[in-house]
Symmetry: C2
Subunit: 207 residues, 2 copies
DNA sequence: CACGGTATCGGACACTTGTCGGAAAACCTA
DNA sequence: TAGGTTTTCCGACAAGTGTCCGATACCGTG
C-alpha cells in the first residue's frame, strides 16, 4: 500500500530529488497557503535546482498531488473496512480513524482542500475516496472484487463528496470538535447512504 | 435574489466593466480550461485594459467566483424547496431542477469544478449550498428563519458535499444520464441524510 | 452646464512560469 | 573500474503576473 516505495527500482537520484521536493512542499504548505508557494521556493527548500523540479513535475499542483499520496493512503485506508464484519460492535471506528488522520495533518489538508488550495488535489482526493468506497461496499455486499473503475457509481460519489464536505467544513472552522465527536455526528448520515447504496448496484437502464 | 443587481447604484462604468469581464470569462471557460485562461485573454475579450481587470479583481479565481454567482443562485434556488409542503407528490422536482441547471452550463461547471478548475470556486459553491440547505431544512423543520451562519451544521455540510460530489462525477463523465435519472438515483440517498439531519439540530456538547 | 470625483488606460516595473539546449555530474551495469 | 546511460544543473528565453504611476476620459451631482 506504500505508494512511494511501490517501485524501489529506478535511479537513486530520482528518488532523492522527488522525495526532497515532496517533503519540501509539505513543509511549505504547513507554513503558508499553497497559492503563496512558488516553484523556486520548493526547489530551494529541497536543495534542488528549478530545472530539476520541471524534470519531474509539470507544476506545483502536480507535485502537491504526488506529495499527499502517502497521507491520502493513510486517510482512506480505513474506509474499505466499513463493510467488514469484524467490527460490528464498534461501527464508528473507521470514521474515527478517518477524522484522526485528517487532524494529524490539519494544516496541510486545510491548505490543500481550502479556497486557496488546489482543485487538482481536491479532485484527486475525491476520486481516491470514491474508488475506495466503491470497492469497499462491493466487497462487503457481494464478496466480489469487481473492476477498479467506478463505472458511474452514484452512491460512491455521493458518499465521497459528503465526507470531503464534512472534512473541509470541519478543517476550515479550526477543528472545533474532536475526531470522535465528528465520527459520532457523521456516522448516522453515512449509514443511511450505505443502506441505500446496495439498491443501485445494478443501475436501471435509461427510462 | 438577483445578486448582480442588488445594488443598482454606483458608477455606470464599473457595472459595464465588471459585466464585460464576467461575460468574457464565462465565454472563455466554455471554450478552454480555466487554467489556460490568462488575465490578458479575459481583458481583451471584454474590450477592457488589463489594468482595469486588476482594478476590480485580484486574480482570475476571484473573477470566476463573481462570474458564476448568478448561475449558482439559479443552481441552488431550488434546494430550499426540499422541505416545503407544496410538493409532496413530486418529491424529486427540486433535484431535477438542480441537475437541469447543472446541465445547462455543463461546460462551465466542468471547467470550474474539475481538476483544472479553481479551488476558490469549489469552496464558494460548497459554502453557498451548505447555507441553502441549512436554511431550507431549518425552515422546513421548525418554521424558524434562524441565523445566516451555518454554525457547524454537520448534516448540511454532509449534504452539500454529497451533491457536489455527485455533480462533479456526473459532469466529468460527460453527463451520461439525464437530469431526471440523476435525480432519481440521488433522491433516496438524500432523503436518508435529511431524516437524520433533524436529529442533530442541537448537537450535544463535548463528550 | 460645469465641476469635483472616479474609473479607465497605457506604460513600466520586478517577479514567476514553463521550456529549451548543452555541459557536468552521478548512476547502473558489466 | 570503465562504459554508456541518465539525471542534474546552469543559463537564457518568451510569456504571464501583480503592482504602481500619471494622464485622460467619463460619470453623477449640484
Amino acid at each position: 500500500m506504500a505508494s512511494t516505495k511501490d517501485i524501489p527500482a529506478g535511479d537513486r537520484r530520482v528518488r532523492r530529488s522527488q522525495a526532497a521536493l515532496q517533503g519540501a512542499l509539505i513543509q511549505l504548505v504547513e507554513e503558508r497557503e499553497l497559492a503563496q508557494v512558488s516553484v523556486a521556493d520548493v526547489a530551494e527548500r529541497a536543495g534542488v535546482s528549478r530545472s530539476t523540479f520541471y524534470d519531474h513535475y509539470r507544476d506545483v499542483h502536480e507535485l502537491a498531488e504526488a506529495a499527499c499520496t502517502t497521507m491520502i493512503d493513510d486517510l482512506i485506508g480505513s474506509l474499505p473496512a466499513f463493510g467488514s464484519p469484524d467490527q460490528a460492535q464498534d461501527p464508528t471506528r473507521p470514521l474515527r480513524a478517518f477524522f484522526t488522520s485528517l487532524a494529524a495533518h490539519a494544516g496541510l489538508y486545510r491548505s490543500l482542500l481550502g479556497p486557496q488550495g488546489s482543485a487538482r488535489v481536491i479532485d484527486h482526493v475525491r476520486r481516491r475516496i470514491t474508488v475506495a468506497i466503491h470497492l469497499g461496499v462491493r466487497r462487503a455486499l457481494t464478496g466480489d472484487t469487481c473492476s477498479t473503475d467506478t463505472s458511474h457509481d452514484v452512491p460512491a460519489a455521493f458518499t465521497a463528496g459528503a465526507l470531503i464536505g464534512v472534512a473541509a467544513d470541519w478543517l476550515q472552522r479550526g477543528c472545533p470538535r474532536t475526531p470522535a465527536e465528528m465520527a459520532a455526528l457523521t456516522w448516522p448520515l453515512l449509514t443511511a447512504s450505505y443502506l441505500n447504496a446496495g439498491m443501485s448496484c445494478s443501475p436501471p437502464p435509461t427510462s
